[in-house]
Every structure is written in C-alpha cells, then in structure tokens.
C-alpha cells in the first residue's frame, strides 16, 4: 500500500472507527458515544421520505394547507425518530464477557453484558456472526446476551467483530456501531481420539478391585442383605424403591505422572493432544495426576481447579 493510502486508512481509522469496522480491538467495557454511532435511513425510511416528498409536492400544488400541515407533521415526526434512534445506542455500555470452557472443535458458550445507565433501551440488536439477538436493556441495569462461538484451534480465541444496532422506534432509521472487544476467550486443546495409556509403575496387586470406603460412590437399588445404615432414606423417599449408598469405591488408583518429555517421537501438537486426553481420562476416573511441561510443573493433585490450570497451560503452549 502506498504511504498516502496508508495515511488515508489511518485517518479513516482514527476519524471513523466504527464505520470502517477495521477498528482495532479495544478493551472492555466499551461505552458507545456519538463519535462511533452511525445512522442511515433504512430502505423503508428512504421509501417513506420519497412518499413525504410526493405528499409535499401534492399539497403545495393544490395549495392545500391542511395536507401540507399533515406532511410537515409526519416529516417532523420522522426527524424526531432519528434522534430517538440515536439515543437508543448513545451511552450504551458493553462489558463483562464470561466464557464457558470448550475444547477445540466444540462450540464455546459466551455471555456478554450490555448495560445502560439511565434510560431503558428498546429493541437493541446485536449481530454476532450470522445470528441476531434482539433485547431490551432496562434502565440502570444490564442484559446478558448469550451466544455460542465455533472453535477450531486451542489457545486464545478473539471475540468476533460484533455490530450493535437498532431500528427503534419507527424503523425509518438504522443506528449502528461496530464493536471489536479486546477480550479473547480460552479454548482448550483438542484431545486425541485414541492412544496408549500413560506409563504406570506395576506391582499393585489389587488394582481395580473395589473395596469399601467412607465416601459414598454411587446409589443403587436395594438388595436383600444390605446393611440398614447404608440405606439412603431421604433419597428413597423420592423414589419408588429403596436406594442404598454404595460405599464401595475402587481402590485408589496409582497417580499418573504425566511428562512432556516422557513421550518420544511425537511433535508438539500430538504431545499436547495426548496429554489433554490423559488429563481428561484422569479426571473422569478420579485419578490424581501431575503434569510436567518444559516450562512448568503441576504437582500431583485432582479437582477442577487443577484440571483447568493444567489445560490452560496446555492450551497456551506455543
């Protein structure tokens, strides 16, 4: 691009950030203001103004002042509706993104808060991708817009450019503003489909055999001979048979020591995918695990927090 054109684009970026829609990502919360709200008549608005022009010429031609007054009143109401449309977006705040978790390839659930400080905003529309969401923002409150985004790769996923727009109140004008929030959401790596188990030290004889424990593991139908104190009375009351708390649980499984360097002959992405699968499996089977990466170590633990920490580290591997 020649420097002059670059300068022109830069100027357009600076002066018309919302119009160009190549706006640089900006931090949330975004407050809409007059510099970034654009307004044009809709197709219906153009048609309506043509009609008003016809009415005006007709009224003037027949020197019919009552008709002229009617035309002026309609025209003034249309102009007023333009200002009302502007006020729908002016001062709107877009902030507060919350994202669910998703592995690459799944859709990720994102919710976005749209707030208004003073007035109620009617019929605000938000375009995300090809979908349109229509909602009302209450005065002094916020509305949460929830949508799903498709994911493809692990790592940070930037929110798409979104357009917030409205045709309130009469559908004659359309106000809009482009949003490009600088708030990526995290996508976990895609686990591999099939693969070997991690290496485990052998020698534990009763591996896999259930044995009684203290923690309730599952509920099952009552079988004659079950000890009475194991019956889950409260839950049975809501059920048509007796339920028994099965206190047996599998023997504590051996901790998995997952190591980045323990795999040979694999490229980085395959290692990440395999580690992700192992972590998933470990979590599902209630195993404790530790994870060693070239630039970090997560000690043996279990639970959601540990899982998310490990997955985040994997997702953000360069």
């Amino acid at each position: 691009m020649p420097p002059r054109a670059q300068r022109l684009v830069a100027w357009a970026e600076r002066r018309l950030p919302s119009l160009t829609r190549f706006r640089r990502p900006e931090p949330l919360p975004i407050q809409l203001h007059r510099r970034r709200i654009y307004i044009v008549p809709t197709g219906f608005g153009i048609g309506f103004s043509v009609l008003l022009a016809v009415m005006l010429v007709g009224a003037l031609n027949y020197a019919n002042n009552a008709a002229l007054m009617l035309t002026c009143l309609l025209g003034a109401a249309a102009v007023g509706s333009m200002l009302v449309a502007f006020r729908v977006l002016n001062g709107l705040t877009i902030g507060g993104v919350r994202a669910g978790t998703a592995r690459a390839g799944e859709t990720i659930h994102v919710s976005l808060d749209v707030g208004a400080s003073q007035r109620e905003r009617m019929a605000v529309r938000l375009d995300v991708g090809l979908r349109e969401f229509v909602f009302v923002v209450p005065a002094g409150g916020a509305t949460t817009v929830e949508f799903e985004l498709p994911t493809e790769f692990r790592g940070w996923l930037a929110l798409p450019r979104m357009r917030v727009h409205s045709r309130w109140p009469l559908g004659l004008f359309r106000v809009w503003s482009w949003l490009h929030p600088d708030r990526p959401v995290l996508v976990y790596p895609r686990p591999e489909a099939l693969g070997p188990k991690p290496f485990e030290p052998r020698g534990d004889t009763d591996r896999g055999r259930p044995r009684p424990g203290d923690e309730p593991a599952a509920l099952r139908e009552y079988r004659p001979g079950d000890p009475r104190r194991q019956i889950a009375w409260k839950l049975s009351a809501r059920h048509h048979g007796l339920l028994v708390k099965d206190l047996e649980q599998p023997a504590p499984q051996e901790d998995w020591r997952l190591d980045w360097d323990g795999m040979h002959g694999l490229d980085d992405e395959s290692r990440i995918a395999r580690l992700a699968r192992w972590i998933d499996e470990a979590r599902e089977s209630g195993r404790r695990w530790s994870l060693r990466l070239p630039d970090g170590y997560f000690d043996v633990a279990q639970g959601d927090e540990h899982y998310h920490r490990c997955m985040t580290a994997l997702a953000l591997r360069p």
């Binding site: 009415m55 020197a63 002042n65 003034a76 102009v79 007023g80 009302v84």
Partner: protein
C-alpha cells in the same frame, strides 16, 4: 439481501410473521383511513370495505393466514370495475381516492409480514392526506391528523422486541408525545415552506363541485344550496348591523328567461354602471369563503366596487380574479336608494321579454290585472303578492313541476320556495308589461353576538325580484316574504323549521353561544391556516422589515430554521445527565479549573492525592487547595450523604479559587 432466485416459485419468506398486536394496530389504521374517507365514498363501498376489514381481522385472529389468490384477484377486479363504472374513469379525485382506499383495505388480505405492514402504513399516510383534498375544515383536518397516531403506533410495534399486551392507551402515549415534540418543527416548516404561486399541474380544486350561487336559476336548482349549512360570508359592521329584513346580498340579476330558467342578460357586462341616487352610504367588511367564481354578493345596494373588482350595469359586482381562497373585501352600501330612475329602451325590452307559448294562464291572469288596475303598477305587484299570500305554501320539498313550470306552479302545485316565487312573480310582472328581473344572492344570516359579525351560510341563498317602477327605479319585491314572512324576518333556518327541520329542538341559548364560539374558531382556522397562501407568506416577514419575502429568502429561512430546530433537538438527544450529586459537579468544576492550570487528574487518581499534587504544583493556591481537599474528604466520606451546607461551602470555595498557569 435477496439472492439470485432461478425459479419463480415463491421463496419461503424468512421474515417473521406479524404478531397479533401490530396486525391489530394495522387494522385500526386502515379502519381510520376508511372512516376519514367515508364522507365522500359511496356508502356501499364503505360498507363492503368495512366488512372486508372486520372479516380479515376476525379470520387472522382465529389463526388464519393469507387470503388465497382466487379471493384477492376477483376482489381487486371488482373494486376496479365498480370504481370505473361509478365514475367513468380511474383518474381524478373521487375515483382515485375510492380506488386507493379500496386497495389499502384489500392489502390487509395479504399482510403477513413486517414488510407488508410497513408498505401498508406508508400508503395509509398517503390516503390520509388525500382525504384532505375533499375537506380541509378544522374538524376534518383534526381527524385526519389523529389518523397518524395508530399509523405510527403500528410502525413502533413492528420494532418492539416482543409486543406485550399493554393497554392501548399506553401504546399510544409515546406516539402522542413524539407527535407533540414534532409540532414546533412542523409548524415552522409549515410557515416557511415556499408556496407555489401557480400550480405545477392541474388547477386547484379541479373537478370539485362547490355548491354556490350559480348564474342560472331554474325552480328546483337551488335545493342543494339551501340545505348546505357551510358558511359563505362573514360580515362585520362598524356600527349596528342592519335589521334582518334589510340583509339582502345581491349576486346576480337575471333578465333572460327561456321558459325553464333564468340567466343574466348578455348586454349587462358591456354597459357602465347605471345611475343610482342614494342618501347615505356605509362601509362594511366581509370575508368570503372560496367559491371558485368571480361574483361577489354585496349588501343591497352597492354604491362602489371594492378594490380588485368591477361593478356591472345592474350594480352587481364581479371580482377581477376568481375567489379561490378565503378573501376579504370592503363593501359600500346604501339602504335608501333609487336605482336607474330612467330606463333605457333596450333594457326595458330585455326586461319585458318572455318566451312564446309559455304560461298562457299566467298571461291571462296578468292581463286581467292590467285591465283592473290600469297604469297603477304598484297595485298590480301588490295584487300578485296578495295572491301568493292567500293560496300558496312554502316548502323545501315541493311537488315536481310539469312541462309548463309557470302555469303548473301558479295553478296546480302552489308550493315551493324562493326560486319558484321569484320566478313566477317576475313572469307575472313581465306579462303585465312591467319591467322585472330575478335577483339571486343571500338573504338574512346569523348574527354572532360573541364575535360581532354576521355569518351568512350557503343555506341563506335566496332569490327575489326587482320591478322597475316609474319614478322609483328598480324596487325590490320579495314574493317569498308574502308566503312566509319568517324567511325574511328571521332567516332561512326559521323558515325551514316548520318543515321537518330540527333546528327548533336544538335552539338553546347556551348551545347557540357554543355554536358562535365554534364558528369563531372555524373562521380562525380558515383565515389563519387554510387561507395562508403565497401572498400571505410573502408578508410573513413584515415585522422584521422585509415587505415582500422572496422565495429564495423563504427557502433560506426554512433551511436555516429547520437546521436550528433539529440542532436543538440534537442537543437534547446528546445530553446525558452526568451521574453524581452536587458535590461531584463542584469537583468536576475544580478539575476543569486545575486542568486549565496544567494539573489534570489522572485515571484512577484519588481526590486526596490529586489535590495534594495540585497543591505542590500551584504553590500560590496551596492553602486553598489543602482546605478544599480536607473539605471534600470530610463531606464525601464523613457522612452517608454530603451535608448541604458543606456542599455549598465547597462550591463557593471552588468558585473563588483563582488559578494561574504555572510557567515551568
């Protein structure tokens, strides 16, 4: 967003189906348009369209969808056919509006989507305006403007996220408020939109039949006029108004009779005004409703023509231009006069002319009078009046007359109204050899005591005779007065009251007072709004020293004024109440002051730190700033709500703070 469609098959529309609420509002709008047009549509068309409207509403309410094509097409064809058969054409005001309203209601049959509703509403706005081409009176205009409310409410409900079942009143309130807010701009635009001095196409009011005095009089013709209660003239006098019996407004004199009807003579316009001797004359003001004609009805007897008008030989007055809008004139009248004391031979012949073979019985009667009274012409006239007085009756619904109108009326039906009497009386006079002519105009009128003017309605139209008597000139004879004196003494309303009129029932003083006031409002509307034309607009700027505003001036003012008004509204739209209380406002002011002095508050900087920094930067104001800081912190954090007195003190001290830019 319409993509390429290779087939003509109907694309399944992706647009959502209209909700119930917008559809109801749409039906309401259409019903309003129909109502507004009902006054001039044929009654059966109105009825049929109303039935279609209600049926469609019911059908959709019970879950029905679009009407199939085999219903719509015949209906449209039927509409087209009836309109063309009724009017002979599809173009013009009546057929055009009938067709438009019909299409509008039929559009409902296929209104399923938002787009249909929008198109329908836009078209409805146009149809509303077209109703004003028929009647732009105050009430009609008000009703038409009211029609905008459901139209805009429909558009609004189309945009609603989910139309709730709010009460209708709440639905219309925002629209009414929006319209109210639109009034200043629309009034300004109305005043300053440059008017056309001549129409671009057609003629104003083309094809519009206005009932009014016509230059031909045949018994039975005037009936439309006599039942039309719209105002024709409003007359103000400097002194007391003349008594009812003297309120004759002459418009036409008819000298030529063809056996059926009377028409003005041909020679009338070419001669100079005939001589008239009169005692004193007085001036009066009158404003005329548009008649699209040039004749001005003047109070008996006009002595001089108003400006922009000429007086004809028979002392009737013709304006130089057609009266196409409400226009005011000054008239001069004499109550005692002698018109044309000496009669020209040619005129005498014209006023004695009778078609051959008409009214043999009447001629015989006249001949018998001549035999009895000889040269005493006044006695002959009295005899004729006496005959009317005894055997005849006044009615607005007379029996139809046969082939010989004069004889049939005089000897068979013997009932009728002013036209019949004036016509027969004049015939009798001419048959008796006395020059006579028929005069039409208005008689009577209603004295509005509140606003002190005489209101003459079209129903006050009247016909009487003038008879030329030796030495006295043309003398007015009103044969109707002989039959029904109330017609002349009290006015048309009183004369008609005994014949099925219900005026008597409604004749309460308070009601009359109300009617008086109402007429004042109407007159104000007619003069101020409807009569506001290119000429009046040019004088709009007179208070500012511009005698005649040109179109370019007006356009300039229009553009600038609209821009200013929109800018004011834009200010309202942009204005956002700052959050926070009075203390915050003062703090912001302090920040602005300090920013001018070169110390601006950083994001996330607390007040204490900021003011301390400012105090360091501005040693001259150090004490004041420290005091302010302490005051602010104490008011803000020492209480739940900042106490008013400390807020006031803070504000005052901020005001008194003098900052000077420090030069580093």
């Amino acid at each position: 967003m319409t993509g390429f469609r290779p087939s003509l098959r109907r694309k399944p529309s992706s647009e959502p189906i209209l909700d119930r609420r917008p559809f109801d509002l749409l039906c309401l709008t259409m019903g309003f348009v129909l109502l507004v047009h009902a006054a001039h549509l044929p009654w059966w068309l109105t009825t049929v369209l109303a039935i279609v409207l209600v049926a469609r509403w019911q059908q959709r309410r019970s879950g029905g969808r679009n009407a199939p094509i085999w219903i719509k097409l015949p209906l449209i064809g039927l509409l087209l056919g009836t309109v063309i058969v009724q009017n002979g054409t599809l173009f013009g005001r009546e057929p055009g509006s009938a067709f438009a309203v019909g299409l509008l209601v039929l559009k409902l049959l296929e209104s399923e989507h938002r787009r249909d509703a929008r198109v329908g509403i836009a078209f409805a706005c146009f149809a509303l305006m077209s109703a004003l081409l028929f009647d732009q009176g105050l009430v009609a205009s008000f009703f038409v403007c009211l029609g905008i409310v459901p139209a805009l409410a429909t558009l609004r409900s189309l945009e609603e996220v989910e139309p709730q079942a709010t009460p209708w009143a709440r639905e219309f309130t925002p629209v009414l408020l929006a319209l109210l807010a639109a009034v200043p701009l629309s009034l300004f635009a109305f005043l300053f939109v440059p008017r056309l001095s001549s129409p671009l196409w057609g003629t104003p009011q083309s094809g519009q039949a206005v009932t009014g005095l016509s230059n031909r009089l045949a018994p039975g013709d005037m009936l439309d006029l006599m039942t039309d209660d719209t105002p024709a003239l409003r007359v103000t006098f400097t002194g007391a108004p003349p008594p009812n019996a003297a309120r004759y407004f002459r418009a036409y004199t008819m000298q030529s009779f063809d056996g059926k009807g009377w028409s003005p003579g041909y020679r009338n316009s070419r001669r100079p005004p005939s001589r008239a001797d009169y005692g004193s004359q007085f001036a009066y003001q009158f404003s005329m409703e548009p008649t699209h004609d040039r004749v001005l009805p003047m109070l008996d007897l006009p002595t001089a023509a108003p400006a922009d008008a000429i007086m004809r030989a028979d002392h009737t007055v013709l304006a130089k231009r057609r009266v196409d809008e409400v226009t005011s004139f000054t008239g001069y009248a004499a109550s005692t006069y002698r018109l044309e004391p000496s009669l020209d031979d040619e005129v005498r012949r014209e006023n004695l002319q009778l078609p051959a073979g008409v009214g043999p019985q009447a001629r015989a009667l006249a001949a018998s009078w001549v035999e009895r009274y000889g040269e005493d012409r006044a006695a002959i006239a009295r005899a004729a009046l006496a005959m009317f007085h005894t055997n005849f009756s006044y009615t607005l619904a007379p029996e139809p007359l046969g082939r010989d109108r004069i004889d049939d009326f005089l000897f068979a039906t013997r009932e009728g109204y002013c036209e019949h009497y004036a016509s027969a009386f004049t015939f009798l006079m001419r048959a008796a050899g006395i020059p006579a002519r028929v005069v039409t105009g208005y008689q009577g009128g209603y004295w509005n005591g509140t606003a002190r003017y005489l209101l003459v309605r079209r129903s006050d139209a009247h016909a009487w005779s003038e008879v030329w008597l030796e030495g006295r000139g043309w003398v007015r004879f009103d044969p109707t007065a002989a039959v029904r004196p109330e017609r002349v003494q009290l006015g048309a309303a009183a004369a008609n009251a005994g014949h099925g009129g219900d005026e008597g029932l409604l004749d309460f003083p308070w009601l009359r007072d109300l009617r008086d006031r109402w007429d004042v409002v109407n007159q104000w509307w007619n003069r101020g709004v409807i009569g506001f034309d290119a000429l009046r607009q040019q004088g709009l700027l007179q208070p500012f020293g511009i005698a005649r505003a040109e179109v370019s001036d007006l356009a300039m003012i229009f553009a600038v004024g609209c821009a200013v008004l929109v800018a004011v509204a834009l200010g309202w739209a942009l204005f956002q109440r700052r959050e926070g209380d009075a203390l915050d406002a003062s703090m912001r002011r302090l920040q602005r002051k300090l920013a001018r002095a070169g110390v601006s508050r950083r994001t996330g900087e607390g007040p204490r730190h900021f003011l301390a920094r400012a105090a360091r930067a501005l040693p001259g104001q150090r004490n004041a700033l420290e005091r302010l800081s302490e005051l602010y912190l104490r008011s803000r954090y020492g209480h739940d709500e900042p106490p008013p007195e400390s807020v006031t003190r803070f504000r005052r001290e901020v005001k008194e703070l003098k900052t000077r830019r420090v030069v580093k």
